[in-house]
C-alpha cells in the first residue's frame, strides 16, 4: 500500500512549491567519533556546522525561509551507522502557513543501526491560520540501537490570538524495531472536530508533546517512569506507557502554554537520558532547553 502517493482527502493543487531534501549518513570516523559520512540538502533545508557534545554529533537543521508554504514538499532521510550517535535538532520553531488550496508536506525516514543512537528533537511545530499540513515519519531501529523521537505541537500563534485556526493536520508516524511494528499513529486533526473540542474543554490552548524511546537499556528500568509521571500536574497532563516491546516506551503530555510545554519536554528528556545511561548533549541555546 502506498500511503505517500494519495492526497488523503486534501484538496489537490496544481501549484509548484519548493522540493527540498535532507540526506545524512552519520558514522564513526577514524578516531571513533561520530561524523557526517554523507550529506546532501536542498533549499529550504540548510545545515549549521555540526558540533560534538557528550560523544554525540549535534546537527541543527535550519529552514531560513519563513516556513512551509503551499505545495512545499520536504523529504528527510537520516541514517546512523553502528558506533555513532547523532542529535538532529532545529534552532527555531517550524511553521506551516496558510494555503489557498493543497497542502505542505514533510516526509522523514530514520534508520538506526545496532549500536547506534539517534535523537530527533525539533523545535515546536506551529500551524498558522489556514494551514494544511501533512507529516509522515518512519523510524526503523535495529536491535541494539537507540532512538529518542520528540515532537511538540502548538495550537497556533497563540500570542497573536490565533489558536486552533489551522485547517487540517495529517500526522502519520511508524516506529519499528527490526520487523516489529512498535508504534503506528494516524492523526487527522481538524479544529472543528469532536475530539479537538473535547480536548479544548480541558485545555483551551492545548499544546501537545510526545516522545518515543527505544533502547535496550530500558528493559530493566522502572524507576525513571515514576520520575516522568511526577511531572504531571492539573495544569499539565502527562502519561507514559510501554509499547509492545519492553525496550520501547512512549510519553505524552498536554498543557496550556509554551513555556510549560518546553519545561515538560526538558524534564522528560532529562529522565530518559538518565534511564538509558547517557549524557544528554547540550543544545547550546540560551535557555539550555
Amino acid at each position: 500500500m502506498s500511503e505517500d502517493a494519495s492526497s488523503g482527502g486534501f484538496p489537490e493543487s496544481e501549484g509548484q512549491g519548493i522540493r527540498g531534501h535532507l540526506r545524512l549518513v552519520c558514522g564513526p570516523d577514524s578516531r571513533g567519533l561520530p561524523s557526517l559520512r554523507e550529506q546532501s540538502f536542498r533549499a529550504p533545508i540548510h545545515l549549521s556546522k555540526p558540533h560534538l557534545d557528550a560523544g554525540t554529533l549535534v546537527v541543527n537543521v535550519v529552514n531560513p525561509t519563513a516556513g512551509l508554504l503551499q505545495d512545499d514538499r520536504i523529504h528527510q532521510d537520516v541514517r546512523v551507522q553502528p558506533g555513532a550517535s547523532l542529535l538532529l535538532t532545529s534552532p527555531s520553531a517550524s511553521r506551516a502557513h496558510r494555503v489557498r488550496t493543497g497542502w505542505a508536506e514533510v516526509s522523514q525516514q530514520f534508520h538506526v543501526a545496532a549500536g547506534a543512537a539517534l535523537e530527533v528533537l525539533p523545535e515546536t511545530f506551529i500551524p498558522q491560520a489556514g494551514a494544511s499540513y501533512k507529516q509522515s515519519t518512519r523510524a526503523v531501529v535495529e536491535s541494539g540501537g537507540t532512538l529518542l523521537l520528540f515532537e511538540t505541537l502548538s495550537p497556533g500563534r497563540v500570542a497573536s490570538g490565533e489558536s486552533f485556526e489551522y485547517t487540517r493536520l495529517d500526522w502519520r508516524t511508524d516506529v519499528l524495531l527490526d520487523q516489529n511494528h512498535l508504534l503506528r499513529e494516524r492523526y487527522c486533526i481538524r479544529p472543528a472536530s469532536g475530539e479537538v473540542q473535547a480536548l479544548r474543554r480541558t485545555f483551551p490552548s492545548a499544546y501537545y508533546g510526545s516522545a518515543v524511546v527505544v533502547c535496550p537499556a530500558l528493559c530493566a528500568q522502572s524507576a525513571c517512569w515514576e520520575q516522568v509521571l511526577a511531572l504531571h500536574s492539573p495544569e499539565s497532563w502527562l502519561g507514559v506507557s510501554p509499547l509492545s516491546h519492553p525496550s520501547a516506551w512512549t510519553v505524552k503530555w498536554v498543557c496550556n502554554d509554551a513555556p510549560l510545554l518546553r519545561s515538560l519536554q526538558h524534564g522528560v528528556r532529562t529522565a530518559l537520558y538518565a534511564a538509558i545511561g547517557r549524557t544528554a548533549p547540550d543544545l547550546r541555546r540560551v535557555s539550555g532547553r
Binding site: M1, E3, S6, G8, G9, D170, W171, R172, D174, H181, L182, L183, R184, E185, R186, Y187, C188, I189, S193, G194, E195, V196, Q197, A198, L199, R201, T202, F203, A206, Y208, W225, E226, L229, H232, P234, W237, L238, G239, V240, S241, P242, L243, S244, T250, K252, W253, V254
Partner: protein
C-alpha cells in the same frame, strides 16, 4: 441503513443479540477504558460530563479507528494472513498498554466463548494463529469473525460493536460517579442518537488514515496503569 425484513433474512439477529449481550462472557465489565482515570482527573463527574466523554472521546475513537478496523477485519475475515497483519497493525496503534491489553483480553475471551457455541474454521484458524504468535487477538478481529460466522451484515456488526463500547462506558460510570440509572440512560441516548452519523463517517475512513487523536483519553489510560487505587483493570 437498509434492513431486509423478509422471513428468514434476519436469522443472524438472535445470535448477534446473544453475543452482544452483557451476559456473554467477555470480561468487558472489568474495564473502563480510561474512564476511571478521567474521573480521577476531574473531567467526568456527572451526567453532563459523562455525555461529553461519550461524544467527545468514545465516539470519535469509534469513528476514526475502531469501526474502520472492524470493517477492515470483516472484509478480510476469510484471509487469515491478512487478518493477522491487521491485528498486529492495530496492536501498534494502541499506545497505552492497558488499552492494548484490554482489547486483547476481551478479544481472547470472546473468541474462547464463541468457540464453545460456534463450529466454524474461521474462529479456530484465528485461535491457532494467535497460539503460533502470528496475531494478538484484538477484540475487533474477534467481533469481525463472529459477525462473519453468524452471517450478520457489516452494518449490524458495526452497530453492535459501537453500542457495546458506549454501554460499557456507561456501565462503568455507574460505579465511578454519582449518577443514577436514568441519568445513565439519558447520557447513553444522547450518544446513541449520534451513532448513525458516526457509523456513516467511519465507512469513509481509509486504512492508511485510520487512527485517532485523543491525547487526554490516551494519557488517562496510561496513568491508570500506575494508579495506586482502582476498581477497573483498565
Amino acid at each position: 441503513m437498509a434492513t431486509d425484513t423478509a422471513p428468514g433474512h434476519s436469522a443472524w439477529l438472535p445470535a448477534l443479540l446473544q453475543t452482544a449481550d452483557a451476559l456473554f462472557p467477555t470480561g468487558a465489565y472489568a474495564h473502563s477504558f480510561g474512564l476511571e482515570e478521567m474521573v480521577a482527573l476531574g473531567v467526568v463527574h456527572n451526567e453532563h460530563s459523562l455525555r461529553d466523554f461519550l461524544t467527545g472521546h468514545v465516539l470519535p475513537t469509534l469513528e476514526t479507528q475502531e469501526l474502520p478496523y472492524l470493517r477492515f477485519a470483516f472484509e478480510c475475515a476469510t484471509d487469515l494472513s491478512a487478518l493477522c497483519l491487521l491485528d498486529r497493525e492495530l496492536n501498534a496503534l494502541k499506545l497505552a498498554r492497558e488499552t492494548r491489553e484490554a482489547s486483547v483480553q476481551i478479544g481472547l475471551r470472546r473468541l474462547k466463548a464463541l468457540l464453545t457455541i460456534l463450529d466454524t474454521p474461521l474462529l479456530a484458524d484465528f485461535a491457532a494463529a494467535i497460539a503460533r504468535g502470528e496475531a494478538f487477538g484484538h477484540h475487533v478481529c474477534a467481533c469481525a469473525l463472529q459477525g462473519k460466522s453468524q452471517a450478520a451484515p457489516l452494518e449490524a456488526v458495526l452497530v453492535a460493536y459501537a453500542y457495546g463500547a458506549l454501554s460499557s462506558g456507561v456501565t462503568a460510570a455507574l460505579k465511578l460517579i454519582r449518577i443514577g440509572q436514568e441519568g445513565c440512560q439519558r447520557a447513553l441516548s444522547h450518544a446513541v442518537a449520534l451513532l448513525p452519523k458516526c457509523l456513516d463517517a467511519s465507512l469513509l475512513v481509509a486504512r492508511s488514515e485510520a487512527g485517532t487523536f485523543s491525547p487526554l483519553l490516551e494519557i488517562a489510560s496510561m496513568r491508570h496503569a500506575f494508579a495506586r487505587e482502582r476498581l477497573f483493570i483498565s
